[in-house]
């Protein structure tokens, strides 16, 4: 059977098409030759098709257990159920890289399809830049990480099995979501580079970038949340965020991406902060690449690290260097330095969004420093300090609280200028209400801790301010329902985004301050107490799974003498590869989780047991999903779906009656057409 070679061949063809894509439309756009620019969309489609063919072939090899393919033999096993065979496609380095490329090609195709109303020059340049990124990654996979390499002639009779940690539903969808986010930022990046090349950093550019950025960011949010959720139930010790280098690598583009979506809003609506926004777009994508580099190169190892390989690390670093250095040089030469004559007062929404950016960028820097510091010290031979969770908890928490408090104020602020006295009066009632609610929450949890109070207050404050603003805005003479209906989807997107964030802050605060963890030694029949709950050790035994044997325990959980749950944690021994996995059992609830994990057998009838009470932990992930939902909702707003095609850069009226800003009339001098101005 020759088909794996066809897969490799498809990758090489995709590479050739990507090379053409990165050159031909760009040359066409610079020389003004439409015949060359016309190649942009067909080349994109061709590239996508060949990448998809390669991905399909690899998937097929997994489905039919073709162990002549080395990657399949290393990551799959004939005993695996089909859905794990499918997810095993991205269970190792080569396959996840192929998935990454498939998504990159997919995003590029999406730009080609959904860019009908963009000027041809812009489309050509954006697709060329994306083509260039594709070239980099296709070269990487073809030269260093061929997933179709064969083991011939001694084909193994069975595979080595997928890492048991990865045999899990969360892991089927976590990497694709994460990659959708990472890769999605390449579109924002391409728009930024195209805008720098033709010198059109304007409100229109910001408007085109916004939906792409928001979608990528929403996917990344979901991806990170899924990763955290997976770590919580699968790694077996009940934590939800470990400040592990790879987790940090995904948090970095998320933080700068969050800054970016806010700064894009200012650039679109007010035409200011252009240089800053375009820099953020470049940095966000660079951080996505840095994340890939850190995971794939093995410069920093962690639970996530795949087999590290200096050659791959060097290649990725070169790719990172070319992309980042190239775009930053372009930025330094082309970014506008002209001071835009737009006035805004010291309490304006512009200022609050600027402060939001300062906070988010500080947080990004903080996480970057914490992640890279050991590496930096090591290369300078300077010393011996390792950074761990305490550093992040100590420094990140105050920043998050400050950002949240500012956000609550910012929600009430207006563009251009906000009267300080008016703002203060406006804040009075929400403030009083928030203090009241958070005090009640503290009383409910029974113990006053200053950090807990600050965290809960921040969460409540954000939620109250968001709802208060919605109430104000939906005030209408035609009634409340009419007022609520009149708000745009992008406004509701923002509301959901902020409410989700409030839930995340609340969850993180409560579970860190009021969660209880106990490690106990228990014999059959023993009772242990954690908070208000009693755990009775009722059963212990052995059972046989599909590809593992497990020791399991049985626990009854009692609250006030009433049984609320029955839990069966396991300790699994996988037959292939001899690895041991702790499968915690969790009674999940909206207000609290009960968590039991079984540890070592200490003596003949005693076991080490980990018992945990985790209040509000679900809010972390629920909040993240609501936040992401807000992102998707905002993108579906009708102002992003303008049917007319703007071939010439002239001001046009869209179907909602607002002006589509054009480069000739940057919002600097014209009255700004914002959704606020319309409504």
């Amino acid at each position: 059977m020759m088909y794996p070679e066809l897969g490799q061949f498809a990758l090489i063809l995709a590479l050739l098409l990507a090379v053409l894509l990165s050159v031909v439309p760009l040359v066409g756009s610079v020389t003004g030759r439409d015949s060359l620019q016309a190649f942009a969309r067909p080349l994109t489609a061709g590239m996508f098709v060949f990448v998809a063919v390669a991905f399909g072939i690899l998937t097929y090899a997994f489905m039919v257990d073709d162990f002549s393919v080395a990657y399949v033999a290393n990551n799959s096993n004939s005993l695996l159920p089909w859905y794990y065979k499918f997810s095993a496609v991205w269970g190792g380095h080569e396959g996840s890289l192929l998935l990454w490329i498939l998504m990159l090609a997919g995003w590029t195709l999406a730009v080609a399809v959904f860019s009908q109303r963009l000027p041809t020059v812009m489309v050509s340049q954006v697709l060329s830049v994306l083509g260039f990124v594709c070239v980099g990654f296709l070269l990487f996979i073809v030269m260093t990480s061929n997933p179709f390499e064969r083991i011939l002639p001694n084909i193994p009779t069975d595979g080595a099995d997928l890492n048991p940690l990865l045999q899990d539903f969360g892991l089927i969808i976590h990497p694709p979501m994460l990659y959708m986010g990472y890769v999605g930022f390449s579109v924002t990046f391409a728009f930024a580079i195209a805008a720098l090349i033709n010198g059109r950093l304007d409100a229109a550019w910001a408007r085109w970038s916004r939906p792409w950025t928001t979608v990528a960011w929403a996917f990344l949010t979901v991806g990170i949340a899924l990763g955290s959720w997976w770590a919580y139930y699968e790694l077996g010790w009940g934590g939800w965020w470990f400040w592990d280098p790879v987790e940090n690598a995904s948090l970095l583009p998320w933080l700068s991406g969050t800054a970016l979506i806010h700064s894009l809003a200012v650039t679109e609506k007010r035409g200011v902060f252009k240089s800053w926004t375009v820099l953020l777009a470049i940095v966000t994508f660079a951080l996505s690449l840095l994340g890939t580099f850190l995971v794939r190169s093995g410069v920093l190892t962690s639970v996530h690290a795949f087999a590290s390989d200096p050659e791959r690390g060097t290649f990725l670093l070169a790719l990172l260097a070319i992309t980042v250095v190239g775009s930053l040089i372009l930025y330094a030469v082309r970014a506008p330095t002209v001071h835009v004559r737009v006035r805004y007062g010291s309490m304006s929404r512009e200022i609050f969004l600027l402060l939001n950016n300062v906070m988010l960028v500080s947080a990004t820097l903080l996480v970057a420093v914490g992640t890279l510091y050991p590496l930096v010290l090591d290369s300078l031979d300077m010393g011996k300090l390792s950074i761990g969770e305490p550093f992040f908890n100590l420094t990140f928490t105050p920043l998050a609280i400050a950002a949240g408090l500012l956000m609550g104020v910012g929600i009430f602020s207006r563009w251009k200028k906000t009267d300080a006295g008016w703002l203060a009066r406006k804040l009075l009632w929400p403030l009083a209400l928030s203090i009241l609610i958070s005090a009640a929450a503290i009383v409910g949890y029974g113990e006053f801790k200053i950090m807990a109070f600050l965290g809960i207050f921040t969460a409540v404050w954000v939620a109250v301010a968001t709802c208060w603003d919605l109430w104000d805005k939906s005030n209408s003479r035609k009634g409340r329902i009419h007022g609520l209906k009149r708000q745009s989807r992008s406004y509701y997107g923002m509301v959901l985004g902020h409410l989700g964030l409030a839930m995340i802050i609340a969850g993180a605060t409560v579970v860190s301050n009021y969660g209880i963890e106990r490690d106990v030694r228990m014999e059959l029949g023993d009772v242990a107490t954690v908070g208000d709950y009693q755990f009775v050790f009722t059963d212990v035994g052995q059972r046989q799974g599909a590809n593992f044997t497990a020791a399991y325990g049985g626990f009854d959980v009692l609250l006030d003498g009433r049984k609320v749950a029955e839990l069966h944690p396991e300790k699994r021994q996988y037959s292939v590869g001899m690895s041991v996995m702790t499968e915690a059992d969790i009674d999940a609830g909206f207000t609290r989780d009960i968590f039991v994990a079984i540890g070592e057998r200490i003596s003949d009838n005693a076991w080490a047991i980990r018992l945990q009470y985790k209040p509000l932990i679900r809010w972390l992930w629920l909040g993240a999903f609501i936040t992401a939902l807000g992102g998707f909702l905002a993108v579906s707003d009708k102002r992003y779906r303008i049917r007319e095609r703007a071939t010439e850069p002239k001001a046009k009226l869209d179907d909602s009656g607002s002006l589509v800003a054009s480069p000739l009339m940057t919002s600097a001098t014209t009255p700004v057409m914002t959704s606020e101005a319309r409504s």
């Binding site: 920093l300 690290a305 980042v324 330095t337 011996k384 490690d519 001899m578 702790t582 070592e600």
Partner: protein
């Protein structure tokens, strides 16, 4: 003047790039080869059980031993613990513990509850010796010769298989009898 400021991000990126590049050579998983054959780095740290006692690399003199990096925050260490107990009690292997980035009270409670397989325990709350050893996470286990040289680094959990296939032959080569 403002144009010059725009070059600042480029400068930062370049510096970072150089650092990352130097990081590639120092691959932490390859560190075993870098440290093997060299002496355990100098250190002066307290004994876990007796804060008044300062330990140095002298603890490795005399006979070949294992150096096990552990912490109560590390779930895999919990998995590994029973095997370490077995190694210490049934096989009589001297194991020096390196209590890594942990709290003394928690560590002592853990050993009281689960048993103490260690002949000596070095208390390293800041992770300084761990850093010198190139420890990235726990558990990690080093084979140390009778003269205090690092012979091998094992990343991950020690179990019977690892003991039989790797650690035991190495200890016996170094003059141990297990």
């Amino acid at each position: 003047m403002k144009r010059v400021l725009l070059f600042l991000p480029l400068l930062v990126a370049l510096v970072l790039g150089v650092l990352l590049f130097s990081g590639i050579g120092k691959d932490p998983t390859k560190l075993d080869s870098a440290l093997v054959g060299k002496a355990v780095p100098e250190f002066a740290l307290e004994d876990l059980h007796r804060p008044e006692v300062q330990l140095s690399r002298q603890v490795f003199q005399g006979e070949p031993r294992l150096l096990n990096v552990w912490g109560t925050w590390c779930p895999s260490c919990r998995d590994e613990h029973a095997d370490l107990m077995w190694l210490a009690e049934d096989e009589g292997v001297p194991i020096v513990g390196l209590n890594y980035k942990d709290q003394r009270a928690k560590a002592k409670a853990w050993l009281e509850r689960l048993g103490d397989p260690y002949s000596t325990n070095v208390y390293d709350p800041k992770g300084s010796l761990g850093f010198d050893l190139g420890v990235y996470g726990a558990p990690e286990t080093f084979v140390i010769g009778a003269d205090g040289t690092v012979l091998h680094r094992h990343v991950g959990v020690v179990n019977k298989q690892v003991w039989e296939e790797t650690l035991r032959p190495l200890l016996n080569q170094a003059g141990g009898r297990y």
